[in-house]
């Protein structure tokens, strides 16, 4: 069995990767995937802590988190599609009408 410490380290790595992805990638879909990576890192942390404390709360939270993330993705992709219809692009750097 993997020790919780290792799981936590993995989750931190995933989270860092996610943040980096958001910062460096320009494709909206990739950015979105990076965010999902961050959420999953959090889920992993929950699992690790859940095992540490031996309760069900952590795993319970993960279920909710997954559901919410799914809902968010559904809405998010809708918005991305709407934007794509107008811009014909999925480059986030094209979104700069609103500034200053």
């Amino acid at each position: 069995m993997t020790p919780p410490g290792l799981t936590l380290a993995l989750s931190a790595l995933l989270f860092g990767l996610g943040v980096t992805g958001v910062l460096v990638r320009r494709n909206v879909l990739v950015v979105y995937m990076s965010i999902e990576l961050m959420l999953n890192a959090a889920n992993l942390a929950f699992i690790a802590f859940g095992r540490l404390h031996g309760g069900l709360d952590g795993q319970l939270f993960v279920f909710f988190s997954m559901v919410v993330a799914a809902a968010e993705v559904a809405v998010g992709l809708g918005i991305v599609v709407a934007v794509y219809k107008q811009l014909h692009s999925v480059d986030v750097d094209q979104l700069n009408l609103l500034k200053f």
Partner: protein, 679 residues
């Protein structure tokens, strides 16, 4: 003793009622209300005096009219208490008595004035304030009265608001008095520090018990109070406002600027006589300034042509005499002279008012324009104004010091005491006595005895004034003639009545000053003979110079311009103030307005404004509309926050290193994300 409050409340209500309803009342009603209020006060003042008189020889020497507490801050408590002791009752009698006479006179004098109610409201208010001043049990209450009379004086000097010079004179009086008020306040603070109380009886009790003679703190306090007295009582170098104050109506000059308010400084120094007794240096300053003022003002009075200005400088001079008395420790003599001066100077002013009134009338009648106050355009009025002439003659003789009139005794008393002190003081004071006789005789010659210099038509139109004006003159003439009885010299049953009555007030100071040898009969007789001789010389000189309109004085003036010019120029004191105080003040204010206000203050304000709008403009450029840059700032903040919270328990070195790295990171981000010009 609560009825003592009525002393103040009656004229206060009079003032309030006249201010409120005066417009709807007839002149007689207004005069009756105003004079009635003061008359009521006078009756109560007599009552209070009797009560205090009854204390003579008893264990208690003063009464307190209690009132509510005014303020209590820490250890400081100030109550609305009135102090009734010999000094305050004497002052009260003078203020209400002379005040009543002048109110009666003013009814006639101000007849037909468009602002009749305002005048009497202010006059009543003045009486109330003056009574607060003399009755206040503590320095705080005294200061209220002190400022109150100053305010009334300011309002009444500038009473003829349509005259530019009148409002200027009012402002001048007010501003010069501010200097004195500052001295008063500083003195109060010093005394409070020294004794921990503002109550006058307690201060008088505490000072000799706790402090030795010559204590520098007390000297400072005494000098501060003397600055206050110099302002209010017009002493050198602050006397310049009083001659200008003659712009006010003549009853005001008589009441405020001769009989009562200007003596407040003398009252204050006598009230604090212990303080001056404990400080020989301050006493010397008082004496020197007093005699110097007496001399300078008497010299100025020699060359004035305006009848009221002569009297104004005469007032300054006589006040100098009173301060001389205080300075040499003759406190009772100072008050004695204060009282007799109130009589005869009030009288002289009212007489001059009568003359001016008659002159105005005559000039108006003859359709001539001219200054009704200029003595050069008078002369020969003796036949036309017989009543005024006689009463003014009594006043002039009294102030000159002819026996047995009031001024003779009071001035002689001061000269005697001065002779005990310093020969120089005595010599100068004697010289002033000579000058006093001279300029008063000059006034009478030029006004009444010389052949008239008026046009025939105007001269024919001069008429003696009616009884409303003349009756007060006669009352005051009687007082001026008999006032000396209050304090006859010698050691008989009737001698030194006033001094003995005032003894509870002056005793602590006299005790500090040490043994006082009463004058021997020989000393007194010699002094009297000498001063009569001096007065006769002065009168003789005046007769030589002014009899029959000869030109001897004019020739003298022409021959010695170096003596004459400074007097006409008033020693250049006004110019001196103008040049060294007023103009620098103006320039400083102008510079502040132009350079400092416009440059520094406005610049600062505008600078702050543009600083913020510039930095706002700068900061907003860091929001370029790009999601990833937002995420970058977000992440930077997140890392910082994480470090801040997670590294709290870490050692300082780690915190420093991480903090430094983060700051570097932030700085780098600021640089990388710097706004670029949009190409």
């Amino acid at each position: 003793m609560a009825h003592a409050w009525l002393l103040i409340l009656l004229p206060l209500f009079g003032a309030g009622y006249l201010a409120w309803q005066g417009r709807h009342l007839r002149e007689e009603q207004i005069g009756t209300i105003a004079a009635g209020a003061v008359g009521g006060s006078f009756v109560i003042a007599v009552l209070c005096w009797l009560q205090v008189y009854a204390l003579r020889g008893g264990p208690v020497d003063h009464l307190i009219a209690g009132g509510p507490s005014w303020l209590a801050v820490g250890k400081l408590t100030v109550d609305y208490h009135l102090l009734l002791d010999p000094l305050s009752t004497v002052m009260t009698l003078v203020v209400t008595g002379v005040g009543l006479v002048i109110h009666l006179y003013a009814r006639g004098y101000m007849h037909g004035d468009p602002h009749f109610p305002r005048f009497f409201a202010l006059l009543n208010l003045f009486i109330a304030a003056m009574l607060v001043l003399v009755l206040g049990e503590n320095l705080a209450l005294l200061f209220v009265g002190w400022e109150g009379v100053g305010f009334c004086s300011y309002m009444l000097i500038g009473y003829f608001t349509e005259k530019q010079s009148a409002s200027q004179a009012g402002k001048k009086a007010f501003i010069v008095n501010r200097i004195g008020d500052l001295g008063f306040l500083l003195g109060s603070f010093l005394l409070y520090r020294a004794t921990g109380t503002l109550s006058l009886p307690e201060i008088v009790k505490a000072l000799p018990a706790e402090y030795a003679v010559g204590n520098p703190q007390l000297t400072a306090a005494a000098l501060c109070f003397f600055v206050g007295a110099c302002g209010k009582s017009a002493q050198f170098p602050l006397y310049i406002w009083l001659p200008d104050a003659m712009e006010g109506p003549t009853p005001v000059s008589a009441l405020i600027h001769a009989a009562t308010m200007v003596t407040a400084g003398v009252y204050l120094t006598v009230r604090l006589s212990v303080l001056y007794a404990l400080s020989p240096f301050a006493s010397q300053v008082v004496a020197v300034i007093g005699v110097l003022t007496a001399l300078l003002a008497a010299l100025l009075a020699l060359v004035q042509h305006d009848i009221k200005k002569v009297l104004a400088y005469s007032t300054v001079s006589q006040l100098g005499f009173m301060f001389l008395a205080v300075g040499v420790g003759a406190y009772a003599a100072a008050i004695f002279h204060l009282v007799t001066h109130a009589f005869f100077k009030g009288l002289l002013f009212l007489c001059s008012g009568s003359v001016i009134h008659a002159m105005e009338h005559a000039l108006h009648h003859a359709h001539e324009s001219g200054d009704p106050q200029d003595m050069r355009q008078m002369g020969g009025l003796r036949e036309k104004l017989p009543q005024t002439h006689w009463t003014m003659l009594i006043g002039g003789a009294a102030i000159a010091g002819l026996p047995p009139l009031a001024g003779f005794f009071s001035k002689d008393e001061i000269l005697l005491h001065a002779g005990q002190g310093h020969l120089l003081l005595w010599a100068v004071a004697t010289g002033v006595a000579l000058l006093t006789a001279f300029y008063n005789a000059r006034l009478l010659y030029k006004t009444f005895w010389q052949p008239t210099r008026m046009s025939a038509a105007a001269y024919a139109a001069v008429e003696e004034n009616g009884p409303t004006l003349i009756l007060p003159l006669q009352i005051l003439a009687g007082l001026a003639a008999l006032g000396g009885l209050l304090n006859l010299p010698g050691h008989g049953l009737c001698s030194q009545q006033l001094a003995r009555f005032l003894d509870p007030v002056t005793a602590p100071a006299l005790h500090v000053l040490g043994a006082h040898h009463p004058f021997t009969l020989g000393q007194e007789v010699r002094g009297m003979l000498f001063s009569v001789g001096v007065v006769m010389v002065g009168l003789g000189l005046a007769a030589w110079g002014y009899r029959e309109a000869n030109q001897r004085m004019g020739q003298l003036a022409a021959r010695y311009p170096r003596c004459y010019r400074p007097l006409v120029n008033l020693y250049g004191l006004d110019e001196f103030y103008q040049r060294w105080v007023v103009r620098p003040g103006h320039q400083c204010a102008e510079w502040l307005a132009r350079e400092f206000d416009a440059g520094v203050i406005d610049g600062l304000v505008n600078g702050v404004g543009s600083f913020f709008s510039d930095s706002a403009e700068f900061t907003r450029r860091y929001q370029p509309g790009l999601v990833r840059s937002y995420a970058l700032w977000f992440t930077l903040g997140a890392v910082g926050l994480l470090a801040a919270l997670a590294l709290r328990p870490a050692p300082a070195v780690v915190q420093g290193v991480v903090g430094g790295l983060l700051l570097l990171l932030a700085g780098g981000t600021v640089w990388v994300m710097r706004p670029r010009s949009e190409a």
